[in-house]
Amino acid sequence: MNSFLKNNSYSKLEWTLMKSSFSLIWLLSFLLIISRYNYAPTPESIFKLLPGGFYLCFNAKIFLLITNLLLIYFYIIEKHIWWSLMGLSLISLFAFSLEDSNSDFNRNTMITGVFFAQFIAYSIKKKYIDFDVDKYRIQFSVQLISISYTISAIAKLNTSGLKWITDGLLMPLQIMKTNYFGFVNDGNLEHITNANHIINLVDKYSLGVMFVLAFTLIIELFAVISIINKKYAFVYGLLLVFMHIGFYLVLDVAIAGTYIPMLIFMINPVFIFWIILKALKNYLITALGSNGKANTF
């Protein structure tokens, strides 16, 4: 574990696991969007550039799905990767713009952004053969993710200033809102019970709430330091995980388009799981081996 952090480069396995997890998330998001939306009633992003109405027919959806699956396949097996990343970036741009154009702002900018960042890394490699693409295809992704958090903190400071921390005492209304969102989604009354419980806690520990908000603001503001090296990215990733857990527990909000790319490229949980399994296997082999010796004696 320690050696994987000490070394500021990324192994082929790490990259493959990152790509595979990321592709899965992208594919699920894509399927959700094309199953939900046919039109762009409130045009945003690239849909603002399209003249007239827009309709995504069934055949076009099937074509997009097949193309997407092919591109994901080439992306994972690392063939025609420059073309694959260009295609994935464009389809991602299209799909999430369609989602935004239905006022469904799920802040999936990091997914498109990461595809573009990796596409840029491979574009540089295409021009300059000695460019360390093995490192920068991931480091570029981390850059995009970490700057997004910093931008989020700047938006808070820009809109509310440091008052954002004390304004947190108005949080019960937001807690009420986000939990009611859950209730109107699935009709489960537990969301409302949860809201009342959290509001009581917030009222009781208002100083603690302000402390947590200050902590959140600082973590977000300095997230960009994750670009220094792999170790910083990993440690900062853990801090961001704590922040997201806090957000989920208090506000019932989990912005998947933000925390999942962060998890994949800054922490890489599947790879960590693989390291743990490998260590466990080695431990068992050693333990059973020495047991075997003891029995022989």
Partner: protein, 145 residues
Amino acid sequence: MKKVIYKSSGFIIALTYFIGVMIFGEAHPFCKFSMYSSFADYSYVFYFTDNENKMIKCTDLNTTGTNLAHMYTTICEKNDFKHGHGMESDSVLHEIGKQMLNIIRINNLKLTHNNKKVKINRMYFYYEGKDIKCKKQEMYETIFK
């Protein structure tokens, strides 16, 4: 050129994205992540009911509570309707509700709610002293065809 790219590769994407956000604002893939950048002293929640005034789950209509809230803001901004703090008149709420249900309808042409009455309503949460109050208002109703 090569030297510049190599020297800046440790931060070039972050810098480019930051500049992109400054220029393009909220246009995918750029985003200011301005949600929760302030804690308003009011909040709105939107929900659907049927002809018996029973709640229809948002998931049944291919949407979410968050989506409806975003839709409300988008429509207000596109139509220059002043909004927030419960200031919207009944007629404005009626018009917004109409546009919201229209958006919901066009993405639900094949769903089971065809030919059923769907009403959109708003809950307005606000403080009265230290207590949180909730005002429920009907916005618009239509039959999904």
